[in-house]
Symmetry: C2
Subunit: 799 residues, 2 copies
């Protein structure tokens, strides 16, 4: 989606963000703070005291001193050691339970790939964010049936709608420490490229040994390669839509309110995982049955209150707090400003095309939302970094670390040169960053050029034994590659495809002399210093020929290439495949450079991290890596700047106050207005908060989350589900690079608003009953009760 | 400045906003909520029980029941009747004192014409807002000496800089009820036009009788013409700049923070009024002496605290709370949206010209600031009106009033038809509103076409006896007309002049068939339905000839016209004067229509207002009319929307947090940064608020103010000056149409920040001493003390 960022799956056996993940607020890949690539940092230098490092890591990871403030996307295994802090904040359960990933409550917390979710019934009912099901809503929409706008409610299980290809529920069933298997006994004399390849090979071997029918495995790096875990996940492939509110609930406030407080979004939706009659994962099929999870969460009717304890479990995507100063500056001073500029231009292009054609507007809507979201994220990071003097603080911390290393002879021996060496690795990356970014920018997600590259790469790799293939193209990924190519049809718009490719080509045309892409220069007729208008004309002429000469927009041709014999794909005359062939050598060069960099970081990352952990002297949470994490804290407001206070909760009255009839972002339906007015007028209505004098809508907490946490379960001190996390405040975003305990706040929807909407607006009392909630028992008879579920027209829950 | 709004001086003998008033935040004419014109509503129907009305008015105006919340820009004469409310809120002085306009404290409160101010020393030192002296700073600036940016500090009185022509300090010395003289015994058979003319004549007679050397009088309408007062003001003409901080203090946050909270502006400046050696008002002259006022305010060193009482005295410009629903809808649904669109286009034009030329940028800077401010004001009104459902509430109130009138036979007899009649008058106005607005749009302030009309009108009127002249062109206004024409030279930019006139002509070109301006159609070659690009070409060709054929940009020619014989001006071949001649008949038509409307409203306004007052059953404040008013309330924060709280104070630390090095709006000087850091580090520094742990900067209060209140003195319960009012929050602006007691907040700079800046940044301790403030005595020795005043280079107080 962010065309300048390469696939996050590189060097990771399991892409955790399927290419069709819905764009949204706090999704994983969108908020990825590592702009260019995230090679795993592999521990690979046994000569440099790996035993010491491992021992040290074990010691510090399990140490008991609680961290200051509530920074920390903790590995569940670390939670028992944080018990005193949890108890102090108000947790009443057994902290030890978190360490069992297959037990309660962690066994109920699932990943959708890019979003988090949780089971809330014994029949596989899953609750997540509305913005995490945008793709499913789009897949089931038609011109006369706009589910994104109107929402959807299945009156019976038979009416539940398949989410479409690629939609998944991943249930983590095991995590095993494989640090020795991945990083142990590597020859110190290996070159960086060899080391990178060796580690990739070991990851593939472990993954192959772990996976079996219905089980998806990955090997994940923690603490920059200081530790490695093998994670096994049940992969449920038949996911169906149960209930999504209209967009004026699920996406209330739209782009305007995105990342902002005060917030009034009801960002929730319900799915159900289905399996074969034998209870095992199966492809979507008519006679499948609901999955019966071993654990599901109890839904609270009390919600969250200011000062109350909350613990959040989910799959945060990526943070970059354990980066060096130089890496941070590359991101904040070069990559992010560049991306903001690019995305602004791309949004302008798509806006113009959308004005010209209604169909284009629909097809590019999700992309626009994703781009706008990503742009705002980066702007937020930059603004937060500026206001929080992030680079200065990072510099001070690094100066501090260097001084601490120098101050002790043993430390100097262990860690002495690591900072300088990391800077050298980073400098090599920066030497070609303009070219690399421009090159990667050519492959927009779901674009024809991207499809051409995929087809060609797959054809090449298929010719090799599976164990020797690039992990991304191993057989285990073929199905999702196919699903991606099928699914892109709905979002494919030739005018937009061409306009965005043109935009990227103009960036290539403007590259400085030392960083040209000769293959494209020759093909298009470009050269350094050619004036922009001349370059534009040449690009246009080239694109004319390209789009005339391709059949890739034809789904059967495009998908057919994925099964075609290698030679026929490599010989294919389609114009886009020819371009892919032209660029193949540079593509290989960049992959090798990345692998080499990964090998270098595998030498250095663990040393750096070990130094940082030893210096911290207490528990340290690893950077997020799309694996299951737990964070906890308190429901509370914040002063985002001098003179202002964000209150910890918003109310139904606030939803109404933002209402603008007919507005795309703030336009409520008459029925919703009526439901709110009725609720405001009845002082003892259900799910009302007595202290607040209203039904609570969203709330703030100081838990530590990031993209990928969208849809995370928010539990109270008794382990009951009191809300769903769906965003962070604007002032929070820069915490991806350096945690700010003062200003960081996550945004959650209170479960009482979910229940209120379901009962009072949508008449979804059967969904509530499945979760054990009997609407009338919580207060006065709700009007939802008076309306049988069938009275709500299917597919329009309350518009 | 707002080209679509006619001169607010129409039918008002004293223009209270000189045409060169600095644009700014809360200035009078900019924030004028009456978009098209504000004819006085004259009481002129003795047959319709004027005695009853007058008696009624007297009764209700003086009734004792306090208003709910703190709405009310009260006439000082009403304050004694509000004593219980004042006492309850914390006022410790004698409420009766306010009724004496020439006594203390009202005698110290002055008008600058569009801004408010007050005396703070026995030597005529005046404190007001920084944005009220922009014109004076511009007048004294040169390319190598930018006082707007760098500020100014006179080390001695000899160094004080004349503000330039047109700059005034008005000291109110008397107010006399002249209701009978203006509105009594008018023949009921007069036509509306005759009635309008009759009242204008009486106003002129009263004014002529009141004025003498150095004294300026006006007759002002209150309560839609139910009451009239003759106001006499001393007119001090030699006003000089004493001290203005740099723009990063005085205009900190610029357009971004304008109308917003949280705020960190130090919007203050000091002037001095000078008079002739005989102590009487005199033109600027070298041997003038400082004016010695009879009253001046005592400056507090304690500032304002949350919950504390404040009373604000100043000259609010215009509100429209006592309008009918139809008038309100005309403003909110037609005029304001139109103006926002127009101003946005004009700002775009000026931005483009400013990018092209540095000189243009400087010349149009004040106009840009004024336009941006006015646009934001109107947007704020519209947004506030929408959020506060203003039109619905207004409609409900009018329905209520109508029902109340109908419910009683006597009331029905008194007030029965007034609402319907007012709607008829309004309907007549709306019939030609597109044409009228487009026509008025042609005369941008300080434009060549406007100068041409002024010259022509003055020539016409000069030929008549003074008593028969249009009030605007009576001899008493000649000097300020001349000053306006002199002063405009600095802001005159031919490219901008032409571009804005072109913009207005294109609007004229697009007028609908029934509302064309035939004189212009014939001259330019326009007609209804001509395509925009064709109209553009014709307008361009016409403008080519126009600008080729004029000498009006030459100051001596332009000013010379004001003294030239009538016949020679009327015969003048200058192209712009020819256009003025062409448009003279329509100009007259519009003036007559306005006078007729004024006559109609003179029949109806007092009846409407008497009904409203009788129904209210308690004291009612009249709409603002640029006369001296008093409002009071409490220092307190506000929840502008669900989920957010504005805290009542901001701090020095917040100034630093907003700092962006080099930024036009938020860039502090290194010296300022250093001064703040020093202050933050010293826990017992001067003017620190112990509870806040910092020096307070700005504060919120719930007093009721509007444009024109800029610079108003803010007094505490003991009558000491604790701050200067300079703005309202964005949520407040719509209160000009309907007061919202929940959300309305004014923004003030705390006097402690003024003192801190003067001492710690500018080394202006001699200014503080003149106000009786001894800097070192308030805390530790301030660094300002260590730096003698002379050490601060004159003209650069702390940049």
């Amino acid at each position: 989606m962010i065309p300048t960022a390469p696939s996050p799956a590189r060097l990771r056996p399991t892409p955790t963000v399927p290419p069709d993940a819905a764009p949204g607020r706090w999704p994983a890949s969108r908020a990825s703070p590592r702009p260019a690539e995230s090679p795993a940092r592999l521990l690979a230098s046994p000569a440099r005291a790996p035993a010491t490092l491992l021992a040290l890591a074990s010691a510090v990871l399990l140490a008991g001193r609680p961290a200051s403030a509530d920074e920390g996307m903790w590995m569940p295994q670390q939670i028992p050691d944080l018990a005193p802090r949890l108890r102090k904040l108000g947790f009443e359960g057994d902290p030890g339970a978190f360490a069992d990933l297959a037990g309660h409550p962690m066994g109920a917390v699932v990943s959708l790939g890019g979003c988090s979710a949780s089971f809330v019934s014994p029949d596989g009912l899953v609750v997540t964010n509305h913005h995490c099901v945008t793709g499913a809503l789009q897949f089931n929409s038609a011109p006369e049936r706009n589910l994104i706008k109107d929402g959807f409610l299945a009156a019976t299980r038979a009416e539940e709608l398949w989410n479409g290809p690629g939609s998944r529920v991943y249930v983590t069933v095991a995590a095993r420490d494989v640090t020795k298997e991945v990083a142990g006994s590597l020859d110190a004399k290996l070159s960086d490229l060899q080391r990178g390849e060796a580690i990739e090979k070991r990851e593939k071997e472990l993954t192959a040994a772990c996976e079996r029918e219905g089980l998806r495995c990955r090997v994940a790096s923690y603490f920059q390669g200081l530790r490695w875990y093998e994670i096994a996940q049940l992969e449920l492939k038949d996911v169906r839509l149960v209930y999504a509110p209209p967009s004026f609930v699920g996406n209330y406030g739209g782009e305007t309110d995105n990342w902002r407080w005060p917030r009034h979004g009801g960002d929730f939706a319900f799915l159900r995982a289905w399996v074969g009659r034998d209870g095992r994962p199966a492809a979507h099929a008519r006679d499948n049955v609901p999955y019966r999870p071993r654990h599901w969460l109890k839904v609270s009717t009390a919600g969250a209150s200011p000062g109350g304890f909350v613990i959040v479990a989910g799959y945060p995507g990526r943070t970059a707090r354990h980066q060096t100063l130089r890496e941070t500056r590359d991101a904040l001073e070069w990559a992010y400003p560049r991306q903001v500029r690019q995305m602004k231009e791309m949004l302008a292009i798509l806006a113009e095309l959308s004005r010209a054609s209604k169909e284009t507007e629909i097809r590019v809507a999700a992309r626009v939302r994703g781009l706008a979201n990503a742009m705002k994220n980066r702007q937020g990071v930059l603004e937060g970094a500026r206001k929080g003097r992030l680079v200065e603080r990072k510099a001070a911390a690094e100066t501090d670390l260097a001084a601490w290393i120098r101050a002790d002879a043993a430390r100097a021996a262990r860690y002495g040169t690591v900072l300088a060496s990391l800077d050298e690795v980073q400098a090599r990356k920066e030497a070609t960053r303009e070219r690399d970014a421009a090159y990667r920018g050519l492959y927009a997600r779901d674009s024809l050029l991207s499809s051409a590259r995929t087809a060609r790469r797959l054809a090449e790799e298929r010719a090799r034994p599976d164990a020797e293939r690039d992990p991304e193209y191993q057989q285990r990924n073929w199905e999702r590659i196919r699903e991606g190519q099928e699914r892109m049809q709905k979002a494919l718009d030739l005018a937009a495809d061409r306009a965005l490719l043109r935009h990227s080509l103009l960036e290539v045309a403007a590259l400085p002399p030392g960083q040209r892409i000769p293959a494209l220069d020759a093909a298009v007729g470009l050269a350094a210093g050619v004036p922009a208008d001349e370059a534009g004309r040449k690009v246009d002429a080239w694109l004319d020929a390209l789009y005339r000469g391709t059949r890739l927009a034809d789904q059967s041709f495009r998908v057919g290439l994925l099964d075609a014999p290698t030679e026929s794909v490599l010989a294919e005359a389609d114009a886009f495949l020819q371009v892919a062939a032209l660029l193949a050598p540079l593509d290989k060069e960049l992959r090798d450079a990345e692998k080499e960099r990964a090998g270098a970081l595998a030498r250095l990352g663990p040393v750096y991290m070990a130094a940082a952990i030893e210096k911290a002297g207490g528990p340290v949470a690893p950077d997020a890596n799309s694996t299951l994490r737990v964070t906890f804290g308190t429901v509370k407001g914040v002063s985002p700047e001098d003179g202002v206070l964000y209150l910890p909760q918003t109310r139904l009255a606030g939803v109404l106050a933002k209402h603008r009839p007919g507005d795309k972002e703030f336009g409520l339906s008459p029925r919703m207005v009526e439901a709110i007015e009725r609720s405001l007028a009845s002082p003892r209505g259900p799910w009302r908060d007595a202290r607040l004098g209203d039904v609570p809508v969203d709330f703030l907490s100081d838990v530590d989350t990031t993209g990928g946490n969208s849809g995370s379960a928010v539990l109270d001190g008794r382990g009951e589900l009191v809300g769903l996390l769906f965003d962070g405040t604007y002032e929070t975003i820069a915490s991806d690079f350096l945690f700010d305990p003062e200003r960081t706040r996550s945004i959650q929807v209170d479960i009482r608003y979910v229940l209120w909407v379901a009962a009072e607006l949508s008449g979804a009392s059967h969904v509530l009953r499945e979760m054990g909630i009997d609407a009338p028992a919580t207060g006065r008879v709700s009007s939802g009760e008076g309306r049988p579920a069938a009275a709500a027209p299917p597919g329009r829950p309350g518009s």
